[in-house]
Every structure is written in C-alpha cells, then in structure tokens.
Amino acid sequence: MEIKVFVTILLSTIFINNYVLSRMLGLCPFLGVSKKLDSALGMGLAVIFVMTLTSFITYPVYKYVLVPYRVTFLTTIVFILVIAALVQLVEMVIRKVSPALYDALGIFLPLITTNCAVLGVAVLNLSSGFAGPDASLGLLKSVTQGFGGGVGFTLALIIMAGIRERLEIADIPENLKGVPITFITAGLLALAFFGFSGMKI
C-alpha cells in the first residue's frame, strides 16, 4: 500500500496544495520569471532540482545530526545554510554545463536561496511528520514531497508565463498593467486550482 502514499503526496503537492497557488510560497520568482515561457521553464527545472535535493539533504541532517545532539532549535539556521550552499553548487554546475541557460536565468539563480518554496518544503517535511522517530520511509516521502512541490511550482510558473505572453498584446487599463493584472490572473488560476481540493485520491 506504500505506492498509494507516494501517489497521494505527489498529487497533493502538485495540484491540491500547489505551492504557489494554494500555499502561496515562492511568489517572488513566480512574478519575476513568468514573463517568457522559456526562462520560466528553465527556472522551473532549476527549482525542481534544488527542491528535490534540499529534501534529500535536510532530512538526514535533521534526523541524524540535529535530533541526536538535541540542537533542533538550530533547524532554521542550518537549513538555510544548507540551501545556500546547494544553490551555489547548482549555479556552478549550470554555468559549466549550459552557459545559455545561465545567461537566461541571470540574477534569479542566486534568488532561489531566498525562494520560500525551497525552505518551505524543508520545513514542511518536518511538520508533515516525515522525520518523526516512528515514520517509515521518511526520506523517500520527503524527496517525493520536494519533487512534487517543484513540479507544482513549475506548472504554475509555466501556465502563468503562457498567459502573460498573451497579455502582452491585450488591451489593459493603464493602472492595471504589470503586477496588478498578474495578481488578478494568479487569483483566477488559484480559483481554478481550488477545484482540485475536492478530489478524492
């Protein structure tokens, strides 16, 4: 029956509790990088990668370092430093492997550090009880939640970028241009995603 648990985690992080549209995490990159479809895709992939990796690393750090040494009050500090180091690593890898992608993402790569979705998933893994003393397969569940959260973020980002590319040519009232119309679009999207909350898995 374990497969069912993972499917549930995936579906709920991607659709029902979508990180951007329902939990409202990671709004800065959601607004900042959603102007063009291809840079949205690149940003999304980078976030999926970082979020999965973050879940994979913060879980053992919490369970096998912070808890045994009774320093769980340091969780926030340790997590954010782990994430900062990870993002630095990803940045170096992308610069080496794909300079084009590196140019496209520009200043937004370092900003993944302060993307609340990334720290959010690390904290949510704890509050979901995945790292509890009697939780089984906690690491796998955490990684699934990280991956699902990243996919949900990317999904929202790509939908938004697609809509914004069309909004460019739309006739919008002067004062609504830019951020306000983006928020109205996001609200409508959130309303649509809200429909998933009745879904039975």
Partner: protein, 198 residues
C-alpha cells in the same frame, strides 16, 4: 541626512510590497486574519531592526564575496529568537502562523534591506530604516488582512461583525488574497497616476 524621511519612506513612497515588490509570500499567506497580520508584522519588524542593526555595525569588516551567507546567518539567528519566543509565550499564535515563522528568513524584504541599505549606511539610520520598512510592511499586511477577514469571515479580530451577512469564504482562501492585493495595487497606481498628472 533626513532621519524623518528614512523612517516614513516605507509607508508609501518605498512601501516594501506595493512599490519595491518584495515579501509577497508572507503578506498573502498570513493575511487571513487581523491578529495573524499584527503578530507577523511584529515578528518581521523585530528581525528587520535586529538584522539591520548588526549588519550596519559590522559592514566595514565583512568581506564582499562572503556577505550574503553572513547576512543570512544573522537574519536566521534573529528568526530563531522570534521562533522560540513565540513558541514559549504565544503558543496559539505560533500554531496559526505555522511555517511562516521560520520562513521570515527568506522574506526578501529583510535581505533586500540588508543589501540595499544596512551595508551602506550607519547604525542609527539603518535601525530607522528597519522600523520604517517594518511599519510599511505591516500596513499593507493589516489593510489586506482587514479586508479579507471582514469579507471572508464576517469577523474582525475574531469578533463577529455584521449579523446576518453571509461571508464569502473564498476571500480567506488563496484566490481572495490575490484579488485583494491586485485591487490594492490598482488603487495605489491610480492614486499615483492622478498625483503625477496634477
């Protein structure tokens, strides 16, 4: 240097959310009720003032390429202080703010002010800047929360408001947050545009 200007700029002309466009996540997520909004403001202002104070006082000895990790560690320390204080003295608030207390670390306003202001200016002005930005952040949060709580739950500070009015539950959910903020930004743009025309 005009101290008063540094203090009040956060309220309108350099409002963190409405003008600079930072810190939307906690603004939208925590504004479900007025008391949540006020506690969030208090917590974020404490962190903002504390980190601005420390960062501006060590600004001359921090090596440039190492500044971001150092700033984040300082901010995270203050967030931990807030986290433990709230857990000990206000457990109910702690539960209702949930993960958004540790997430103050990644509230872009705080790192943004450290980068843009505290590492370039003196201690006293930086503290003023922190207080001002905290008030500005809180003002947006409080207005948003008041609208959402009244329309979405027909309550204010948890007290029932207008008898017989059916609240629109969507306002306390995510879509309501997006719509309300969109209309606030629209209103602000309209006011600024009118000012410019005069």
């Amino acid at each position: 240097m005009n101290y008063w200007k540094e203090l009040v700029k956060g309220i309108w002309s350099r409002n963190p959310q409405m003008v600079i466009g930072l810190g939307f996540c906690p603004t939208l997520a925590v504004s479900t009720s007025l008391s949540n909004a006020l506690w969030m403001t208090l917590a974020a202002t404490f962190v903002l003032v504390g980190s601005n104070l420390i960062i501006s006082s060590i600004r001359k000895i921090v090596p440039g390429h190492l500044r971001i990790p150092i700033f984040i560690t300082i901010i995270a320390t203050f967030v931990t202080v807030v986290d433990l204080l709230l857990e000990a003295y206000q457990p109910e608030v702690y539960r209702s703010l949930g993960i958004f207390i540790p997430l103050i670390v990644v509230n872009c306003i705080i790192l943004g002010r450290a980068e843009e202001f505290a590492q370039k200016n003196g201690v006293f002005v930086s503290v003023l800047d922190g207080i001002g930005m905290g008030i500005g952040f809180g003002l947006t949060l409080v207005v948003l929360a008041a609208v959402r709580e009244v329309l979405g739950a027909n309550r204010l500070f948890g007290y029932p408001l207008i008898p017989g009015m059916e609240p629109a539950a969507v306002m306390v959910l995510a879509p309501g947050a997006f719509f309300t903020l969109a209309f606030m930004l629209w209103g602000m743009n309209a006011i600024n545009a009118r000012k410019k025309r005069k």
